[in-house]
Symmetry: C2
Subunit: 627 residues, 2 copies
């Protein structure tokens, strides 16, 4: 076959303990590019509407893209899809590391898991063979310990371990799935689904290598990446990690502070990536074959002891446990990050939920009695860290907060509902919609809830926006210069770049390496890479149709669950006028938002309820989804 | 400016005799790529609904693309747009030659002509300067004479002349616009519009050269073209011209015969391109910088004298005066071609109209009295040639036939209406919809009527279809294997490749050189060329959005005229079962066609009446066309 993957899908029924495999056609891979669109295909075929996300009918698909396994950076990504226990709609989360490449080396593109195992198990895959094994010994263990024990159990130090932590086992609605105890498929509670199935881990070892149609071209692109790294936007990622951009966000009033009341945080410099570099950073880590090395490793003793095994905080983590909570203590943030990685929790939703609880506490909706004695005011680093541990342990208020801020707010009542900052019940990531308008629209309409990696951030607002527009115009032909508007240009920009990022989640590429603006490689180089690896003569038109296809598959999945326009909404705090800094007094007019949403639906080819029309589905080759 | 065109539009008001120019922004060029989409922009802004196509309110735009003028083949194309007197809707026609490159060398990208001159004039453009001059001396002259006289008048043998012939002057509804007396903007009667304005010609001379962002890359692509010509599908064009494929069409039952009653013609070998090569061919001609050399030159003395100045017949011409009319006399076909080029008539519509008249004659609807004594039976070569001359002269029945077969049929009555083979009142080009299903759909829905260069022909049916699908999949990701169906795959294929060809008409590229299947260069090379010439980092996604934009602009233009679903129909003969050969007994079921049309509208983002929805217009940056 003239393309670079093995073409095997592993099917696992945990209820019966049976395993089988499938060899899809080339056109199936080309239609989906692997990854998220491939996962959605199985979910739409296998999961009945209204299925319990934590019940046996839900299906969890772990997949890689058609590019994964090639020796060049930004391709080793695993995508988790299932019905989400957090949002009630489609779930989707991506993570890096070495496990994704290892799965390809072992001969598989995806694992489709259904049913519930009668007892905890793990799946062991080695070079084309797979078996389910007893996981009693590691059930309940934190990720670092579990990983070591599983490698010991299979007798292979080079085995890669993808797993859930105790939070996922206990059904925390933002439980995640990690490999290397640091690379998380973070969002939408995919770890809770895996936990509900009593599947602790997937341990993989492979010694094969996928075929590559044009090895010279891949080598040439890899060399180009090494040669141009220092001039690219990705270089800052290596130097100071993703938190290196906090200064720009502070400057533009786009740093979410004290549960989204402000876009500026007076303690920003203390939690800045540069500060991390100068203080607690001990190493920079990477994923398979990647030269960017954006991952942080930190080690601290005081006031909290942080184990370097669990890495260091990303920007998202830094903001959610930092500025969201008014906390300017970087060591406390690093500790919260370590706890999330030990117990397997999404740092964004966890931090957002703690910030929500702090807001409730500040406003007297929660008392010290409710918090089990914690003085949960904004800025209290110790209370923040303690609350993270309680969520992981589901202890006291932590048990409720483990359901996520939306569900907790419903339970708490008394105005708490107005303080949960979620779309589709999922907590905002760390970018302010009042500042980045088109991103705010995507928060609302994105099928798996508020997300910062499902479209490009407004280049009109971000520093360096001029150059971004220049490069993006090749994709979107937009000129969204007006920072404060949600006009047609902004909506078109949002939708078009949503197709781009939707594609990246199917190809399984890292958005710090391949993408439309500030990444190391641009979209045309990505097209060349697809051609070089698969041997397909492709175009960005074909590729963006895959992105569009995935987005529409997600909308159909949600429509079957009754999720559509009514849920495509910003929370109350998403509209408020922010206080201080460059966005002082800046809110979002609800009428503007509703008009933009209406136009977004229309441009996307959806009906007024936000459901793909028959024509749109047929255009995308999804006629099998027409009812 | 980092792009390779001068960015000047010439505006001419013939009523007042005033001339001005305009320097549009870079984004305007990028939004349209020049050519047809640029022309449509002016028509939509300037022509009021219900304007008389031959009145002063109509506007004629002559344009070239952003690539035109670069020293590589297939870029020297002129596009004519105006409201069509033939169809009553949007008009659009493209032609090659040297004039298009010369216009760019003279510093202009387009000429926008409005009003009606009180007396015959021609426009003379030299190196950035333009003036209107008296054309009394050449008014009424055949093209070859007029061209020589105009070169003499401006005192420059190297001046390029774009002009109409006597047919356009006399309002023949399929009057065309030619340069070199051979390169025609053939279809939709653009010559009649130019004639109604009393604009005989545009004479151009330029000594400048457009800037090119990356000359080395253009040179590299040109060299690649030379090196790979003999292995490409374009090589057959050089050897035997476009009529070299007649054997394949005969074999597959796709050669239109005796006014579309059959897909096979027993005299096919006598009119075949190979036969032309072996008999009457004297030379091969080309357009600016092109290595393909597809143009024929023929010379004959008996039984008709054909002047080589007027070239030789294309496949379309060969079929329309040949198999359409049951004529197997290649010299007669060459004569009809020469007459069309002398008098300025579209060979497809002219031949189709003669074939229609022959069908009427055979069925007794027209008599020898009506025909002025001509025995207009199928196969009578002399009568065919005589009738072409009478149409050019508007003599007798020729005066009526000069209105086109649709209008003539309405006038003739008595069942003649069922014998006119038109879509949107324009005669079918020489490809059989019963054989090429997706093309048949495009015949019906194409905004400027039946056309064979507005989408790709079914690769499932054409010989070599396997390879075509392989190359096309990079654009359309289709698998339209089922020759006899009009299923979703076929509709998707039709729509997607319509975007491709719509783009090519805006870029102003020749479809024998750049395109998705059998051309010399493929679409990815075209993308590279756009980048090399303009300096824009572009993508096939951006480019196909231009194609989509142009198509939607045309649909809006027609909707304003009240032209929509009702006109998107095949004629009665389009549905009939063909007789003989591989398509014996093959018709099109009207229910299949109507379902395909409905799905085509839906996939295109149009309402059930075939009008672009507001969302589709906004998606394409055409919000100014939302009513």
């Amino acid at each position: 076959m003239p393309y670079g993957y093995t073409g095997r899908i592993l099917h696992v029924d945990l209820t019966t303990g049976t395993i089988s495999d499938e060899h899809p056609s080339e056109s199936f891979y080309r239609h989906t590019m692997g990854g998220s669109a491939l996962g959605l295909h199985y979910l739409l075929k296998m999961v009945p509407p209204k299925a319990d996300p934590l019940g046996p009918e839900n299906v969890l698909v772990l997949s890689v893209g058609v590019l994964t396994g090639a020796p060049i950076g930004g391709l080793s990504r695993v995508i988790a899809n299932a019905k989400s226990p957090l949002t009630g709609g489609i779930g989707d989360a991506e993570g890096g590391g070495f496990w994704p490449a290892e799965l390809k080396f072992a001969g598989f593109d995806a694992i489709v898991v259904k049913g519930i195992s009668p007892k905890p198990v793990y799946l062991y895959i080695k070079d084309g063979e797979a078996e389910l094994r007893d996981a009693s010994a590691v059930w309940g263990k934190i990720t670092g310990e579990s990983e070591a024990m599983l490698r010991e159990a299979v007798g292979d130090k080079r085995a890669q371990v993808l797993q859930i932590g105790p939070a996922g086992e206990k059904g925390c609605k933002f439980g995640n799935i990690l490999n290397m105890s640091t690379r998380a498929c973070g969002r939408t509670g995919m770890g809770a689904v895996m936990g509900s199935k009593r599947l602790k881990a997937v341990v993989v070892r492979g010694t094969g290598r996928p075929e590559i149609a044009d090895k010279d071209k891949v080598r040439e692109l890899a060399k180009w990446g090494r040669d141009n790294l220092e001039e690219s936007g990705a270089w800052g990622m290596q130097l100071h990690g993703t938190a290196g951009g906090i200064n720009g966000l502070q400057e533009t009033g786009a740093l979410p502070t004290r549960n989204w009341s402000s876009g500026v945080f007076e303690g920003w410099e203390k939690i800045w990536g540069q500060t991390m570099t100068d203080t607690i950073l001990t190493d920079r880590d990477t994923c398979y074959a990647c030269v960017v090395r954006c991952k942080r490793v930190v080690e601290t003793k005081e006031p909290f002891e942080v184990d370097p095994l669990y890495g260091g905080p990303e920007y998202e983590t830094t903001a959610s446990f930092g500025s969201y909570c008014g906390v300017d203590n970087l060591v406390a943030i690093a500790k919260a990050n370590e706890l999330c990685n030990k117990y397997g929790m999404d740092t964004i939703s966890c931090g957002g939920t703690v910030a929500f609880a702090m807001d409730c506490y500040e406003q007297g909706i929660l008392t010290q009695e409710d918090t089990g004695g914690l003085d949960l005011r904004f800025g209290n680093a110790e209370a923040m860290v303690a609350m993270v541990q309680r969520i992981a342990d589901r202890e006291g208020l932590g048990d409720l907060l483990a359901e996520g801020s939306y569900a907790a707010a419903q339970e708490i009542g008394h105005g708490a509902e107005d303080l949960a900052v979620t779309c589709h019940k999922q907590e905002y990531p760390a970018h302010v919609p009042q500042a980045k308008r088109s991103l705010g629209l995507i928060y609302a309409v994105n099928p798996f809830g508020a997300d910062h990696m499902s479209s490009e951030h407004d280049p009109s607002y971000a520093p360096g926006g001029g150059e971004s527009i220049e490069r993006l115009s090749a994709i979107a032909l937009n000129d969204p210069q007006d920072a404060r508007s949600l006009n047609d240009e902004k909506v078109r920009f949002a939708l078009t770049t949503q197709y781009v990022y939707s594609l990246l989640d199917s190809l399984g590429t890292c958005m710090f390496v391949w993408g439309p603006t500030w990444q190391l490689y641009d979209m045309e180089q990505l097209r060349e890479l697809v051609e070089a690896i698969t041997g397909w003569r492709t175009s960005l038109y074909e590729l963006l149709m895959v992105g569009q296809r995935r987005l529409n598959m997600m909308r159909v999945f949600n429509a079957r669950e009754g999720i559509a326009r009514e849920q495509d909404m910003l929370p109350k705090k998403g509209f408020i006028k922010l206080a201080g800094g460059a966005t002082d007094g800046v809110g979002i007019e609800e009428t503007d938002f509703l008009q933009a949403r209406e136009r977004y639906y229309a441009m996307a080819g959806w009906d007024e309820n936000g459901v793909p029309t028959e024509g749109t589905l047929r255009k995308l080759g999804l006629e099998w989804l027409v009812d």
